[in-house]
Each structure stands twice: as structure tokens, then as C-alpha cells.
Subunit: 324 residues, 3 copies
Amino acid sequence: MKNLNLQIGEDGGLRHFLSISGLNTALLIRILDTAESFAGVTEQTVKKVPLLRGKTIVNLFFEASTRTRTTFELAAKRLSADVLNINITQSAAVKGESLLDTLRNLEAMHVDMFVVRHADSGAAHFIASNVAPHTSVINAGDGRHSHPTQAMLDMFTIRRVKGPDFGRLRVAIVGDIMHSRVARSQIHALNLLNTGDVRIVAPKTLLPANCEVLGAHVFHDLREGIRDADVIIMLRLQRERMLGALLPSEHEYYELFGVTEEKLTVAKPDVTIMHPGPINRGVEMDSEVADGSRSVILEQVTHGIAVRMAVMSMAMYHREEAPE
Amino acid sequence: MKNLNLQIGEDGGLRHFLSISGLNTALLIRILDTAESFAGVTEQTVKKVPLLRGKTIVNLFFEASTRTRTTFELAAKRLSADVLNINITQSAAVKGESLLDTLRNLEAMHVDMFVVRHADSGAAHFIASNVAPHTSVINAGDGRHSHPTQAMLDMFTIRRVKGPDFGRLRVAIVGDIMHSRVARSQIHALNLLNTGDVRIVAPKTLLPANCEVLGAHVFHDLREGIRDADVIIMLRLQRERMLGALLPSEHEYYELFGVTEEKLTVAKPDVTIMHPGPINRGVEMDSEVADGSRSVILEQVTHGIAVRMAVMSMAMYHREEAPE
Amino acid sequence: MKNLNLQIGEDGGLRHFLSISGLNTALLIRILDTAESFAGVTEQTVKKVPLLRGKTIVNLFFEASTRTRTTFELAAKRLSADVLNINITQSAAVKGESLLDTLRNLEAMHVDMFVVRHADSGAAHFIASNVAPHTSVINAGDGRHSHPTQAMLDMFTIRRVKGPDFGRLRVAIVGDIMHSRVARSQIHALNLLNTGDVRIVAPKTLLPANCEVLGAHVFHDLREGIRDADVIIMLRLQRERMLGALLPSEHEYYELFGVTEEKLTVAKPDVTIMHPGPINRGVEMDSEVADGSRSVILEQVTHGIAVRMAVMSMAMYHREEAPE
């Protein structure tokens, strides 16, 4: 409830973009439709639209990620906004300034939007519940909680390949569900879009305790899990975050859960292969699969710009219109 | 005298902005008036003016400061200039290039303005006395010497709250005067604007040896120092710079010099509370004071953008007009 | 042959700019002429041209260099492109992503041009031979192999000072030839422009094994090497790269190969003094020489912006026109 109030303005528009949970089907479809209108722009010779000209967007990264920061910076620049990159691990924290004081200061400089990445779950919500009325917050990943722009670019990619009827699709998410903020957001989005069959496939040690409440069918065997799948989304094995005890070895993981052309024979012939990147080749999947004709992994990256342009412009414009 | 020549062009306009000392009252008022014209701009939806379009401004930071760098970068972008951030601690110094060679190289790339921050007092003056005629220098803090844009945004804030007649004001500066480049610049600015009563309040260990020549009345007791004050400016306790011997403990400092609502009862009822940030809550002041209705600490941050836009555009335009 | 195909499009235009080797005289002169048209722009008050507006250029630096990155960033901004700086040492490499996956991802974001710097010889060619058709690559220095924009700005500087007839010039390159990617590119460019006499002057320990095939006359004595020279190009002594065994001491190097006013008396009276920077004063040359009236070291820096603008716009426009 609180969540819903935070993200959605009084007129039903997008005020912040923090998590898929708390949004509704209509709003998700509006995001996808808006992204569709930007997808063409980024392919043109002159890729800029003047929608956010004169606006100030701050990439507030408490956790370093060149890749994610780059996609948001590009999206902001193609909307003609001014972008400032602030890496909090290097700066204010050193002087002992509190997060709220940092926020208040940036707001006072008339920043219009914060793109927030943080290692703690709930950080983006905390910030959104404390910003001034003139400021919007976009969650670029918080702890194990949520990564909603990644989920929306995945939905956009599925819709482009498979069409708008998610009801007839079987989608399998394979890999380290437990540590994945991406998986949580994907499952929420797939359910809001009324996907016919949402499955998660993982060894027991990589499933969260409450996985049955996530809204997906659970499989511990890869071939069973991806049988007749229309879409397979692999997750990145977060090697740096995992405790040694959870996995016997990367090699054994690959044997059991790594996707190969051979294992793919049980899926639909036109199965679509997705991965949020960066890929650990030979761990989550074979290079033959990653680079094969059914892979849309690079299309996901392209769509990420359009989806981020959509979310940023919707949140900015909602705010603008609200006071009138 | 040298100072005056460096900062002021032959027509009396601002050529560099290095320290308050060496400027005159008329110029200070011109800066405040120009900042007033920009203060409205930064509150608009489209915050950019094309004044410095096509100009190149380099933030040349020999001492890291995300906060200060951010304010100058935003001010430059809102004037439509191109901004380059160069952190000298990481780069040229490593290759053994001298400061003058670094300067000559950047000048040769037709940089129009340097915003300089350096741990050594006098660094900005040194650079200004060596740059090419087509280049201006703005001091963003040099050692314990000067931080003139901070002082001017404080003056701007006082004028906005208390009106243009500084003659009827009692202003008390409280805290670590000895290590504070901010305090030096504030005292000079307050005196140039003919402030009625300028006071500094600090323990003896945090006062410079020559404090009587600064042009302020010295107090060692907080309640005496802020009695009937119209404005109280607290300074940040530079914990990282202070030797252990100067202060018994932060707690004892707070007991004696930390500003609380209770201690404030001796000041004027409408006393204005200021701090350059970031605040050490519970050290320089209570949170109740920092976030209270008489605090203008966040307004200071907002005004910092307008004042920096004013100083940058004045220095740039003076240079342009000079040769004609 | 492969090299030629990579750099030059089917219509003979510049597709990538990777090395001087593989280009032809006409193309070098076209680069110099285009740079001439930009040289005036960078001296104007408003230095921007809208040629690359809406284009995205990524500075992909696998080897840190603030100086080189700055010149490319300035050149791109003065062409009105959007610039992203990505330091690969800090980012993707940490997550174990391969170079090709990093490239594919950036291409998928519709990046138009990569400016690449890498410690390995051949890295820029490798990247150029793997990028998508819509992407151009500019080599900003790869290992000991090539640094073609530096060579072209040197040619531009020589042409500006000595006129377009390189046939009547004697040019001596002095210093650490063995470790210098700059020297290789300079010798190629000087030969393509039909320079009358190209000389390299170095101790035997700082010459590559195959130096006779470079296309230059080899001298081991400074006075002999620079006798009657029209142009002397000193190289930076890459202290950080050199093994202790190659040089007895910097002092001894200076005694034998350091250029002084006294030694210069054997060169032409109007000899032009060049150095790619940053200078080690008192090692490669005396300060009297570096700052003297015959030195054009800072002009080289200025011309570097114009030459980079030329190469970037030519590669971008060739690509654009090619499909028509």
C-alpha cells in the first residue's frame, strides 16, 4: 500500500520507479508503449530528443556499476538532460555526511531526478519516501530486492519477439534466484502481464526460503523446467556474492544448469534466449547458445536505453503536471 | 596591491575570482545583484541559459571534493558551458609533469576558465598569475587561505533574509576559525559590506595567532558571542585536519560551543542560522537547530549555484570585452 | 593489405583511424586540410560546430591517460557529440566480461565511435576488425605500435611552420625510439608525405632490432643526427616503462642526447623544436630549449584538438555516406 502511494501519483501516473510490485498492468503497458516510441529514435543518426532539456539528473551510485550507469547516462543524454555522476562510496560518506543530508543538499541544487543504485534492499524506497515534491527517484538496483528497469526491458524484449499476448507464453527463469534482484522484478512483471506459465529453475541452495510465494512454479531439474518453454531467461551467477558453501563448483553448475544447444532440444523450437549480462560463458550457458540465432541478449541491451528513456520521461512529466 | 591587479581588469571588472581581499564593495554588490538575476533561472523547469555556450571550463581539483565540484559543474552546465573534470591527484602528477606545464597544455587546448581547488594556500593566486590572457581562474578553496564563492553565497543568503543594509546587523561566526578558509573570506566580505558588528567565537586553541587583525571582535564564550546576534554562521569542525591536542573531545566542544535551541535564547528571536555544510550533527549544533525554522542551511546550497553562475559569467565576460 | 581494408572504405574514405601504415598520401593531406578548417573554430569565442550533434562517442581507455582522454573529449564536445568516458581497468574487467562482450554491449547501445587506448599493440586493430558496420574506431595509442593522431598533429604543426613541401625538409626524431609508438607513426607519416631526410637519433640500447626497416637514417651521435635539421622531434623518455639496464642514468642520457641551446648550434638557425609532452625538463631537453622561441610544443597541443576533430568527423561521415 505504502509502496503504491510512493510510486503512483494522485492522477495514476508514474511518480517514482522503484519496483514492479506496487504497479499495475495498465501502467506496465504504458511504459512498454512509451519505450516503443523511443526505440526508433535511438536508431536514427541524430538520436536526441529535447524532452528533458534543462533538467538535471544525478546518477547516485552507492555501488559501482559502469554498465548500468552507462545505460542511464546514455538514456538521459538522448533525452537532452544534463547528467551528473556521483559515486557516494568515494565522496560524502568519507566526510561523515548522512544520506539524508546528501539528498537535501542535492535537492537544494534543484536536481530533478535521482537514479539510485545501492547494495541495501529498500534504499531506493527510503530515498523516494524522503525526497522533495519536485524530485523523482528511479531504482537502478537495490540489494537483493529489485531492479525494475531490467525487468521492464526484458518484458519489452519478449513483447517485441513474441507479441503482446503474454497469456500463451511459458517463461522459465534459470539460475541464482536467491541472490537476484532481477528475478524478483521479472516474476512480478510477468505476473502483472498475465503470463501463462512462469517458472523458476534452480538448485535448492540458490532458491530463497519463501520461493513458493514468489508466484512461479519451482523446478530443480533444468530439462523439466525448460520443457516447451517459449522464453528462457538465464540469471548471472553472482560469483562475487556467493558463499563457497552454496555451489560445489562452477563446472558442476554448468553440468546441471548450464544451458547448451543439446539441452535446449526440450524447449520450443523457436525458444527465445535471454540474459541480463554480463554473461559468464561456459557457466550459465554455452557460447553457442549465447551467440546463436535464438539469443536476443544484445537486443535486450538496445531496448534498455529505450525503456530507461520511457521511465525517466514519464516520471519527470508526471511530476511536472501534478501541481497544475 | 598585486592581488587587486590580478583580480580586477583595467576597466574595473572581475577578471579572476581568487579572494574577497582585494575586491571592493561595489564589485561585491555587483556579484550579489548578478546572482539575484540567476536565482530565478535555477528554479524554472528549463534551467539553462545560453550565456557560456561554446565555452570550455575545467574543474582542476588538486584536492578531492565531490560536493564543491558538483556545485561548480551544475553552475557551468546551467550556463551551457562544456565542463571537464580533471583530478590532478590521479593524473599528470603521476607522470611527473609540473603544474605550470599542465596549465600551459590546458590553455593550449583553448580552455576558457579554470576552477581550482588546492590544499596549498595561494595556489589559485599562483595559477592566476601564470595563466594566459584568454583564461580566467575561480578559486574553489585553497588551503587555509580563501574560499570566496562560499563567502559570497553566504552574503547573498544574508541579504535575501535580512535585506541590503548590513550596517544594522550583528553577525557571529562560531567554531574552528584557525583552520577555516571560509571564515577568512566571510570576515572580509562582511567588512566590505559594512556589517555593523562582526564577531568570531571560538576556543583559544582554534583561533589563529593574529586573530585581532582579521577585523572582528573575538569571544571565547558562546553565549556572550552570540548575544543579540542577527545571524550565526557555524563553521564545520574539520576533524580530519585537526591535531588531537587542540580539542579535548567532540563532546566537550559540543557542551561549550555547540549551538542548541536553549543557548539560542540569548540571540535575537529572528536569528538566522547558517553553516557551509556538511554538518556534524551533535557537534557544531543540534539537529533541532539545523532543521529548525530559523535555519537557512539548504537555502545556502541553492544560492551557491546562482552565485557561482554570477562569478563565472562575470569573469568570462569581462575577459571577452577587455580587448575591444 | 588487411590493414588497408580495415581503415579505408570502398569509396576510399576514412572508415577507422588505426595507424599511419596502410593509409596513403592523399588521405593524409585530406586529414591535414580538414584539420586546417577546424583550427580556426577552436580559437573563436563559440568553439562548437554542430557536425556530430546526436552522435555518441565512447572513450574506451584500457590504459589511464588523463591528458589524451582530455584532448579527445574536448574535440568530441566541440563537434557537439555526446561523450562517455569508460575506464575498463576499473569496471567490466572486474566482473570478468570479455573485451568482445563489452564491445557488443556498447554497440547495442548505438554507440557511433570508440576512441581506444590500450597497453597491447594491435588492440585497436582487433577492435576495429570486430565492430559492427555502424561503428568507427580511432586509435588513441596501442602498446608500442601506433599513436596516429599524435603523428598527424605533428605533421600538421610542421606544415603550418615550414609550409607544404616536406621534400626539402630534414627531420630528426631524437630519443627512446624502441619504446615509442609515437616514433613509429611519425616515421610512417613523414615518409608518406615524402620528407626529404628522415633521421632517428638514439643510443643503441633504445633502438629496436629492426630499425633499418623503419625508413629512416640511424644516428647514434646527437650532433651528427641533428646537423642542418629543419625540425627536431624529441620523444618522451618513458621512465616508467624502461628497464634499468637500458640507460646508465638520466643524467648521462641528458649529457649525450639531451638537447641544449649549445648543441642546437649545429642545426639550421630556424630549426623547429617539437615534443609530444609531457616533457621531462633537464632530461630530454633544457628548459631554455623547451620554452624558447623555436619551440612549438604548445602549438602541437592546440593543433591536437583540430586534428582529432578532423579524424573523428571524417570517420563518422564516411560511415554515414557509405551505404548510400
